[in-house]
Amino acid sequence: MVEIFGVPSQALFGQLLLGLINGSFYALLSLGLAVIFGMLNVINFTHGAQYMMGAFVAFLILQYLGLNYWFALVITPIVVGALGVLLERSLLQWLYKLDHLYGLLLTFGLALILEGVFRNYFGSSGLPYRVPDSLTGGYNLGFMFLPLYRAWVIVVSLVVCFGTWFVIERTKLGSYLRAATENPTLVNAFGVNVPRMITLTYGFGVGLAALAGVMAAPIYNVSPQMGAELIIVVFAVVVIGGMGSIMGAIVTGFGLGVVEGFTKVFYPEASNTVIFVIMALVLLVRPSGLFGRTA
């Protein structure tokens, strides 16, 4: 068997694949953050809590309405996205003209409140959620066993990420959005309802977080702190990719998933630090991020 740095190459293929799977979560979450920051100039610290709410809503509609995973996949992003719209209309919209720090503080505070409320009602141990029957089992790839569900995660993530990138960068709607960020007054003068567009964009970004939450529910522990643990990493991903860059968020999300995966083999103790080391290095060399436009 071929070995690379003392690790069998087959094991490395496995880790590469697992890295990509983790990367799909990073990509989905950082995509939402990048869209929101790019269009609204808000650093959405509630993103982790909204991801957590996605998983909880999936659990709740299964528990109380008997609606399974597939319904959750559709309903949850809409429900949580709608809550996001409510939040934008009631609180966030007043902050656009202020410094970024205000949006950050507001969303950070909200995240703490949401987490606390969920912990109060559901405890911190977590709730059980099963992998849907049609996605159980898996393939033996020779170098590793790939559960069908993880394959599904990669596919969904790729489709959603590139769909979003396409809409924003390549369609007319996307061009309105980008124009509205550059110069809202002018776009408004052309008869486009800019505030509504911004509200819906926020709702969409939040919906993405909720979707990631539903995707995570069967494989990770559904607990109130699940978002807080992940969101810090996701922020690092966004910073490395370049704040607000859609393609940057996607590529760095997958890329850092892979880097983290390899760290788990060669130096597991550093696996939750490696991303921040990279972030520090990137900020030193390219302060606007790998894909960011230099100001």
Binding site: Q15, V131, Y149, I219, N272
Partner: protein, 401 residues
């Protein structure tokens, strides 16, 4: 005659003074994880358990006044130390109870010794608290890493799981648990093939499990706790490790974790606990009282330990009629035989280790579970004298002199 009366009056006054001096006030502080991964196993439930213990104690000791305070150490040793110092120095707390997280537990134990107060450990698991780091102010009540390792480790080896690979949380607790399990496994002829140290609060364990899988070890020992254990077991189930013939040994699994996993995933898991809510009439009665304030929650062994430890501490204070000298109170705790509804009769050893039976449980299948919380079946009872590390092997300075 007048002189006699005067003497009587004087002695009466003196007696009154003495009686007033004997009005003892005790302040109990529950220092716990109120807001993070261990908060269901410990946290508010431990505070409630201490409250119940105080209520039971006061029912027969009306002359003692007991106050209860609580705080969140956020799993940070520096915060834990700060709170402990403030409680002992400023707030006049006499005993700190619980303290999950071995890192924080070791720090608080030091503070209690320096200030000559008392620390009754229920949450922190490291066996070092009654080993090299023991002191005359600390009592470890519920369990420790040696006992978990010994119970589950030996049982797995005896049923054929003689090669091991560890997933260990990368801090004091995981290291202690891995070390103690390695010793237990090797003592009965098993072999350890390797292990990984993962950071606390890891989300995805698939990478580590793949390494465990390729080690070809028969048993994967999970030297972690809380959300980390849940995420590892979920991923092991998904990646088909258990179907491939490898077995999981949950070295520290609580009933709360089993409920979070669901029986479908958790079934067959072997684990060691010193308390199970459904063990006998006494534990069920306690659970009923517990659930009046925390509906549909089941007390964990750490919470049960917070109850029993607080109760025994108060009995020792009542015996001494003073809580001022921490060393004296702990000496009294060791001198008195322990007896409470949850752990039964027991003793506390010179190194601070509380001795009681431990139980090897197996998680039921969904079909076997008849009502909520009906999750364990008893596989073996490990008698108190075998359940914990022998006194002379701990390396506690209090014992070796």
């Amino acid at each position: 005659m007048t002189r006699k009366l005067g003497l009587i009056a004087l002695s009466a006054a003196l007696l009154c003074g003495a009686a007033q001096a004997q009005q003892v006030t005790v302040k109990v502080g529950v220092l716990s994880d109120m807001s993070s991964l261990y908060s269901d196993i410990t946290g508010a439930g431990s505070v409630l358990a201490a409250k119940l213990a105080i209520a039971d104690f006061l029912a027969s000791n009306k002359d003692i006044k007991v106050e209860l305070v609580s705080a969140d150490h956020q799993n940070k040793p520096d915060i834990g130390t700060t709170i402990a110092n403030q409680w002992f120095d400023v707030d006049k707390v006499d005993v700190i109870v619980d303290v999950p997280n071995s890192g924080v537990g070791l720090a608080v134990s030091q503070v209690a010794a320096n200030k000559n107060k008392v620390f009754v450990v229920s949450g922190a698991a490291t066996s070092d608290l009654t080993g090299p780091k023991c002191n005359a102010n600390t009592v470890a009540w519920t369990y420790d890493t040696w006992m978990l390792a010994n119970g589950t480790g030996k049982a797995m080896v005896k049923t054929g799981g003689d090669t091991w690979f560890f997933l260990a949380a990368d801090y004091a607790f995981g290291a202690a648990l891995q070390r103690d399990t390695t010793a237990a496994v090797e003592a009965v002829g098993g072999k350890v093939l390797g292990g990984v140290r993962h950071p606390l609060n890891t989300n995805d364990f698939s990478s580590f499990l793949l390494q465990a899988q390729s080690s070809k070890a028969k048993v994967i020992g999970l030297a972690n706790a809380g959300g980390d254990t849940i995420n590892s077991i979920k991923a092991a189930f998904e990646f088909g490790l258990t179907k491939g013939g490898q077995k999981l040994a949950g070295l520290l699994v609580f009933i709360n974790d089993v409920n979070a996993l669901g029986l479908e995933i958790a079934q067959g898991l072997t684990l060691t606990e010193t308390f199970y809510w459904d063990k006998d009439d006494n534990t069920r009665a306690f659970t009923k009282r517990f659930q009046q304030e925390r509906p549909s929650k089941f007390p964990s062994m750490v919470q049960a330990g917070a109850y029993a430890g607080t109760l025994h501490y108060l009995k020792a204070v009542a015996g001494l009629k003073s809580a001022a000298d921490g060393k004296a109170v702990v000496a009294k705790m060791k001198e008195l035989a322990t007896d409470d509804p949850l752990f039964g009769k027991g003793t506390i050893r010179p190194d601070g280790r509380k001795l009681h039976d431990a139980y090897l449980y197996e998680v039921k299948t969904p079909a076997e579970s008849k009502y909520p919380g009906d999750v364990y079946k008893l596989r073996a009872t490990i008698p108190a004298n075998e359940a914990f590390r022998p006194l002379k092997e701990g390396g506690c300075p209090l014992v070796s002199g």
